[in-house]
Amino acid sequence: MIRLFRYLKPYRVSVAIVLVLVFLQSLANLFLPTLMANIVDIGIVKGDTGYILRVGGVMLLITLAGTTCAVASSFFAARTAVGFGRDLRARLFSHVENFSLHEFDTIGTASLITRTTNDTNQVQQVLVILMTMMVSAPMMAIGGVILAISQDATLAWILVVAVPILVVAIILIFTKAIPLFRVMQVKIDKLNLILDEGLTGVRVIRAFDRSQHEEQRFDVANHDLTDTAINVNRIVAALWPLMMLVLNLSTVAIVWFGSVRVSNGDMKVGALLAFMQYATQILFAMLMLSAMFIMLPRAAASATRINAVFDVAPEIRDASATVHAAERSGYVAFEDVTFSYPGAEEPALAHISFRAAPGEITAIIGGTGAGKTTLVNLIPRFYDAESGRVLVDGVDVRAMPQEELRAKIGFVPQTAVLFSGTAADNIRYGKEMASDDEVRHAAETAQASEFIQDMDDRYDAVIAQGGTNLSGGQKQRMAIARALVRRPEIYVFDDSFSALDYATDAKLRAALKQETGAATVFIVAQRVSTIMNADQILVLDEGRLVATGTHRELMETSAVYREIVLSQLSAEEVA
């Protein structure tokens, strides 16, 4: 939490202003009882109405001044706290944008989203409260003590007794309650998870006739949560009555011992009244502070999660001395590349070597988990190889600036991701300066122009977040168009035709052939028919490159390849 407050530095002047204003406001509030004591001890005792009115006037002015300070401090506090939140969010976001896929895998996309949105808000919210209320509480407490002592130092011993009692009570209650609050949050999450699963999996649950089981699961979690909630609330139930009791009994004690001092002529009645009010203010301030015990742990948890993100240094960074590729052509080479995902028992890719040249189509085929996607992810340096080298145009990708490397590549991922914006925006994502003609041409090649023309606003049709208003096949074609408009040296199609029907697939393939003629093309495919005429086919099996060659060669030489081919033909055709 404290670590995050370093981002408050640009606001130190504002923070200082807030502190001063809150201090003045506290002074104003504290000064009123003293003035009232004067009304009693001087005005009333002497029966001087003029004096009473004069002091009353001063009290009004002070109230006004106090209010002004309060409103002004609210202004600065709001700007500071919300500004801090903005800065924190911005830093976090740009930090995360530098992450490689590896860091996304480790922390988790959903968790990163929560940390960037919810957790930063949580911290900002606490800072608001900290700056508005929590700053004034200690000032009120300290100021109250000083003024109470100035009214009557001897009576102050009552406070010396009451305050520690209060503090101990608060600490006792919170040390019991806070861990329970934490437990409760976990149980709430658990309950919600069960509920969510029940919704998404309703068909499966009913198909396996497990409704009873799910209901029991829910009931156990529900019961568990309820028990904890009752416990927590019963503990916290003691807080307020206990506070009030300490406060009220202190007042009683002050009046009793105060009376004795008044009787001995050591103290005036007005001073006694003022003293009582100070005692109330002090104890209330303590109460306020106790609220921090609730706020802070929750914010601290958020702060820890945010810090954990800041602590992750992006694994993939540009080398300090970058090398530029001499030529723009699109040669790709893997030299004995091995790669494993963190924590996995077996490497996802082991000792992969091959070369791909411009004008060639390299197809990659293999079973689920064979490492096809992993392999193509190494080309744009989404991950770094564990050993061996990936070369693009003769330069190790780790030595090249990431931007330059990726500018060479048109990447079409397995699941098409689109962004909110128009259809044209989405295609231009590949090349910002693309002309309307270029966009249209790319769409035509990708067989996307037909459905785009069918939409209400054509190229200006709005694509919803995540492309939810398009079908799977339409999204894939958009993603292909986005890569085409770049006219890159290297194309990577990671199983990008899976959602297309046969006729579209054939047309797209024919159009692509002309478009990508001079480029280096990688195609990850499931179906043999897709890649039969590739210049070279890489056959992967459990992370190993088991065979390389053309379709005809592989049919002769590779048992694995033959097995794949045969698996896709109907039994009668094989026989």
Binding site: N29, I39, I44, G47, G56, T63, G66, T67, S74, F75, F93, V96, E97, A110, L112, I113, T114, N118, Q125, V126, I129, T132, M133, L193, E197, G198, T200, R203, E215, N222, I230, V232, R234, V236, L245, N248, L249, V255, W256, S263, M288, M295, E346, G367, F382, E403, A407, V417, Y429, D495, A503, R527, M532, D541, E563, I564, S567, S570, A571, E573
Partner: protein
């Protein structure tokens, strides 16, 4: 679904655990926040109250304790005033050197003792009230939550299909949370505040009507100030909420599409867009904070104003001997106690409105029509063989536009039915009918000669095994997910099932093997791997009838032949409905159902359908025949 979709819960400043009044000013759903209104406030309120019926005595005890605690507390200042007055009288006499003058400690001590007892009793009642309320509130919410969950289990699939999960979840989570905290805090606070306001006014009147007037005059002032500010801050809060929504949307989009952002080198543009949105959020955010932040100090100032008036006017009245000094002291305390409950009442009214609106949404859910009851004398099929017969089946999601009309088909045990059609042709409709997720409009479906409506739904569904492309796995270990197919499966059986589904190998490459915990969206597995797990789950369940979705893209190539083997093995001796993409499957099928736009357009054997030259023939020629030619070429 993860934490991020339910940020509202427990996210408000000072949400849970906030017991004392005014600890954080306008809190949960308090002043200045936008409100939602219930359509039928009174009806919903009464219905919510019925949930307290099992605990009505406890609730009455809470109410009594709240009232007593408040009364004992607010009488305090008046009693204290008696002691102060006596003290002041003695003090004045001594000051004027009246002989024999002394302070009446006997009387003062007596009063203070009474006062101490009053305060102790007040605190005890206060504690009792909170303590009992904790049980009442949480148990009520427990019951409500359980009712919702049980209701969800009885709702037909139609309900789930016509609503988003977010919508249902928001009722069961956010709305429930609202009710929970209101019951815990706001209800008793409402009572104590009300009693305080009324009690304080009465007590003030008994002391001095004139001073009461002075204090009450500040009342309209505070109401005007709060409502005015609240209105302004509500617009800023709404703007803040909107900006926050946009910003969160951008973050979600960019993080989910991180790979694309990287691939196309758009990092800096993404950051620039974020900064722009972030600035907008800042602008609305600080205004909202600032405006709502002024409510507290302004209320305090108005309170102070009353304080000054009382001090001055009271002082003058005391000099004229119209009122005693103790009464002025009491008044000062009352004036302080007065503004607090008023702001609180305003904010609680707001909260209660929010809560009733929440309750209304939950009741709406509870009132949804349920699926038809299970048959009274349910039949059972002791030795299922897997014969399926449709006779005169008519069905449509919308009764006016039937998708299936008078469909008749007889499937003998062990036969295979292929379902063919373009993507989006409505294959799930058939699943919905076979598994009785939806009810037929007319006709009947017989399994082993028994009408499916005469079977318990659970008994019927247990005869089926389902492997769809749309996988569902739950947050748990891989072992638990496979075991979902059958209760009490042994470890050996689970591994056997995984092996049969060709999932054993990839499971063993995972860090924790069979104990790997699937995260919430199961993003730590590929689509193909997820499907392998669902196959293993079905293998373990060992059903009589299978519904299979032939994999198109996710589980293919080399794995496919192995899976195909496993599936054929699984299909042997079992009746199966296969959503087919493979040429061989449809050629081998005993019957083919051709679907288009959700309805079954043709049915028959491959040869018969080809001969007919209808939709199937077209489809076959455009898709499968072309592929067949290519497959020839491969050879």
């Amino acid at each position: 679904m993860s934490q991020d979709r339910r940020p509202q819960a427990g996210n408000r400043p000072g949400g849970q655990g906030q017991q004392g009044p005014m600890m954080f000013g306008p809190g949960r759903g308090g002043l200045g926040m936008p409100t939602q209104k219930a359509k039928n406030f009174k009806g919903t309120l009464f219905r919510l109250l019925t949930y307290f019926r099992p605990q009505k005595y406890k609730l009455l005890a809470v109410l009594a304790a709240a009232v007593l605690s408040t009364i004992f507390n607010i009488v305090g200042p008046k009693v204290l005033g008696l002691a102060i007055t006596r003290l002041f009288q003695g003090f004045i006499l001594k000051l004027n050197h009246v002989p024999g003058a002394k302070i009446d400690f006997n009387y003062i001590g007596h009063i203070l003792l009474i006062l101490a007892v009053l305060y102790v009793i007040s605190s005890l009642f206060g504690y009792a009230q909170q303590y009992i309320m904790a049980g009442v509130a949480q148990r009520t919410v427990y019951g409500l939550r359980r009712e919702v969950d049980e209701k969800l289990a009885r709702l037909p699939l139609k309900f789930y299909d016509s609503r988003t999960h977010g919508e249902i979840l928001s009722r069961a989570v956010n709305d429930m949370d609202n009710i929970s905290s209101t019951l815990q805090q706001s209800l008793t606070q409402f009572i104590t505040s009300l009693v305080t306001v009324v009690g304080v006014i009465i007590l003030m009147l008994t002391i001095s009507p004139l001073l009461t007037l002075v204090v009450v005059i500040t009342l309209p002032l505070s109401i005007i100030v709060t409502t005015k500010i609240a209105k302004r801050s509500a617009t800023y809060f709404a703007r803040q909420q909107r900006s926050l929504g946009e910003l969160n949307g951008h973050v979600e989009e960019m993080y989910n599409g991180h790979k694309i952002v990287k691939a196309f080198g758009h990092e800096s543009r993404s950051v620039a867009k974020f900064d722009e949105m972030n600035d907008k959020l800042y602008d609305a955010g600080w205004r909202a904070q600032f405006v709502s932040g002024t409510i507290m100090p302004l209320m305090m100032s108005i309170g102070n104003l009353g304080y000054v008036f009382v001090a001055v006017l009271g002082g003058i009245l005391v000099t004229q001997r119209a009122i005693s000094i103790g009464d002025v002291q009491a008044f000062i305390l009352y004036a302080r106690q007065f503004t607090m409950p008023i702001t609180q009442l305003a904010s609680i009214t707001n909260t209660i409105q929010l809560t009733i609106a929440s309750a209304e949404r939950i009741f709406e859910l509870l009132d949804e029509p349920e699926q038809s009851a299970e048959p009274v004398a349910a039949q059972t099929i002791a030795h299922p063989r897997g014969a399926v017969q449709f006779t005169g089946v008519t069905f449509g999601y919308n009764p006016n536009t039937p998708l299936i009309e008078d469909m008749n088909i007889t499937v003998k045990p062990g036969q295979m039915v292929a379902i063919v059609g373009p993507t989006g042709a409505g294959k799930t409709t058939l699943v919905n009918l076979l598994m009785r997720f939806y009810e037929l409009d007319d006709g009947q479906i017989l399994v082993d000669g028994v009408d499916t409506r005469e079977l318990r739904r659970g008994d019927l569904r247990r005869m089926f095994g389902m492997v769809l492309q749309d996988t569902w796995l739950f947050n748990g270990t891989i072992r638990e997910n496979i075991a979902y197919g059958r209760e009490n499966a042994t470890n050996e059986e689970i591994i056997q099932a995984a092996k049969a589904a060709q999932a054993d190998h990839f499971i063993r490459t995972l860090p924790e093997s069979y104990d790997t915990v699937l995260n919430q969206e199961a993003t730590n597995l590929s689509q193909g791997q997820k499907q392998l797990l669902t196959i293993a789950r079905a293998v373990l369940a060992n059903p009589e009838i299978l519904i299979l979705d032939e994999a198109t893209s996710s589980v293919d190539t080399r794995t496919e032949i192995l899976i195909q083997r496993a599936m054929s093995e699984l299909m042997r001796g079992r009746t199966s409905f296969v959503i087919a993409h493979r040429l061989s499957t449809i050629r081998d099928a005993d019957a083919i159902l051709v679907m288009n736009h959700g309805s079954i357009v043709e049915q028959g054997t491959h040869e018969a359908l080809l001969a007919k030259g209808g939709f199937y023939a077209d489809l076959y020629n455009s898709q499968f025949a072309a592929r067949a030619v290519e497959e020839e070429a491969v050879r």
